[in-house]
């Protein structure tokens, strides 16, 4: 067993400086297209390349609905005048009408994660939050198996028909105050799957959403940003 202790010590500290300082490693975020100015005809052509209607042409500008972007890169690759792209990940927002947890929760939040029809990527990025690089425990964030102890309900996936009831039951089992985080394009807009006879167009169709974390999938840092927001720390 001693070999593991030594190995652990030898590895040193891997944890990201975020949120105290910026994370500067490569490959931590896929980024997003951002509002881009183009002559009107070009802008229209750019918006038409988007398969999920995340891009909208307004005059000589293309605006981005981050909740719909699924990172197909079609507005970047193969486009004659591509969209501007930014690597940043802090794109979580509080949904209009949503509320975050206040001061008593700042240092300790328990999270119940529900997979409501996820493709596996969002869930895998949530899993990474426990790895030494992100180590969510240092910020007072903990995954809990029981909704009875949960303050935050983190939902991924468009909400499939089979998961509507389990999701509703999990939400009902949580004590108030509670905060619902919808994570990923599917949870926010149905993504490429919904709406259909079997999948919804996001979590908000079933339970009220407070914090929205866009991305397909949002990288771990983006989910951390959303959690800090849910805790009222961002």
């Amino acid at each position: 067993m001693s070999q593991w202790i030594l190995r652990g010590l030898k590895t040193g500290i891997k944890t990201t400086p975020y949120p105290a300082r910026a994370e500067e490693s490569a490959g931590v975020s896929p980024g997003f297209p951002v509002t881009t100015n183009r002559p009107e005809t070009e802008a229209r052509a750019l918006a038409a390349r988007c398969p999920t209607a995340a891009l909208r042409q307004v005059g000589d500008r293309v605006e981005v609905d981050y909740r719909r972007c699924v990172h197909c890169y079609r507005c970047l690759r193969g486009a004659e005048a591509p969209m501007n792209w930014e690597q940043g990940f802090e794109r979580s927002t509080i949904k209009p009408g949503g509320a975050v947890l206040g001061a008593p929760f700042e240092r300790s939040i328990h999270i119940r994660v529900v997979d409501a029809g996820d493709c596996g990527a969002c869930l895998n990025e949530v899993r990474q939050l426990n790895n030494p690089y992100y180590n969510m425990h240092r910020l007072g964030f903990f995954i809990t198996p029981t909704p009875r102890q949960a303050d935050v309900l983190l939902v991924v996936g468009p909400v499939t028909d089979h998961m509507r009831l389990p999701l509703q039951k999990t939400y009902d089992a949580m004590p108030a105050p509670k905060c619902v985080m919808a994570v990923g394009a599917c949870a926010l807009s149905g993504g490429v799957f919904g709406p259909s006879f079997v999948a919804g167009s996001g979590v908000a169709g079933v339970i009220p959403v407070d914090v929205e974390v866009p991305g397909n999938p949002p990288p771990p840092l983006a989910i951390l940003h959303g959690l800090l927001m849910a805790a009222g720390r961002k």
Partner: protein, 528 residues
Amino acid sequence: MSVATQFCQRALDQWPGRIQTRQEARRSLCEIECGKEEVIEICAWLHRDADCGFAGLIVEELAADWELRYVFHASDAPGWVHVVLRGPLSEMVFPSISARVPAADWHEREAEDLFGLKFTGHPYLGDFILHNDAWQEALCPMRKRFDALKPVGHREPDPDWRPRRIVHAPGAFAMPIGPVFSGVTESAHFVLETVGEDVIRAFPRLFYNYRAVEKIAEQRSVDDVLLLAERFSATTAFAHALAFCQAAEQVAAIEVPGRGGALRVLLAELERVRHHAGAIQEICESTGLAVAASQAAILEEDLLRLSGAFCGHRYLFGVAAVGGLARDFFDGACKNCVGEAKAIGKRLDRLEEMLRASSSFLDRLEEVGSVANRDARSYSLVGPVARASGLARDLRKAQPYAGYGAFRFDVPRESEGDGYARLRVLFAEARQALRIMEQAAAEIPSGPVRASAARASSGAALGWVEAPRGATFHWLRIGESGVVERYRIVTPSFINWRGFHLAVENFAFQDFPIMLASFGLSATENDR
């Protein structure tokens, strides 16, 4: 004589005058058209005597006919056999081949649930993809007349619904797990029946993540369906996107340029290494070996970051395209990527050494969740799970695609079939994947990375890929107007979940998480 020709010849010899055969040399394909009387015998012959792998049952509702296509592949040389059974749409009853080809069991259940077909002789149909307690009977969403975008009037789920119990003994009880359970887990439900310590029967109830990908793909353009293929199981996104692209390229007879092929191999193997690092992490975590789990998690994140830095997306979205790749890479960047991956591979080797010297860890894996070779063969299991049970099937060797035939690599195989064997196979495969990446990056052909757009063509074809979890098969039919008319995805998780009960039954309760982790299956890849 090619393998396909041999199969045609042998089938004609055995069933003279009762079947028709057709050959397609370009696809090494032998198509056997038969009637309901012969189909069981022919499939059983292919599965048992000819040692073919069963790739799946593809049901298609054509203009006036049902077409049932049982797809087999030779296990040692390039060659495919499609057994085709046709019948008028009014006839909804077909013979079940499951008793002779157990691997077909779930395929028939799916066809019954989604098309409404009946399979005579099948012991257990119903309550499969659409759970009986929540969906109206006879919905048949895969029928052409069903509108996928129209909401269905749902019945309130029945709170008193209970799964069927099989164990009836004094003191027997059923332990339900899921669909929301444990920490960060995919949605799936398990009923474990027991009278005490050991699990007597394990019944996984899946399809909580059923998004009807095959249905919503219909009537969409090939480019739109590529988005679905890439995203329905995003932890192995590139493999599935590649299988889809290869099917589309077969239909349109597009030749992928050498550069595109080499880079596809590079990306597919990068994904395999990353997936295997994640699978190893889950095994370490399931046994509670915290430092090892952290070490593996560091390696997984390093590989995710490497993927992100190399191609822009941590899960390789947006790179695959019909005809090649959506973007090119600098040769230097590829060499750097392989260099970094190899450095990570060295650390993975070091982790394996340490794990193999940790007896308390090995105690949790050895002789736990064993799957016998005989069972793996009869269920036609795939991927690391099959290879750990001595079934060394690998589509990259058996049915080479994307130029894999030109690379030197071994297919790791173990014989014990337990959790430890599966762990060793994962490590060994990661090493082989790095070996392939190195060869792919050493000599990248120059030229375009993508074939210029071909004229639209219609037809149907199969694309196959050895995905990180095992063989995957994508059947694609494109209509005259260029839209997708049928998209059938057979995934390694769908095949291997069928065999999961073999590993759980007769083992102790507390080992259930370890067996779940060492099988490394994905519910969402299974559910589609």
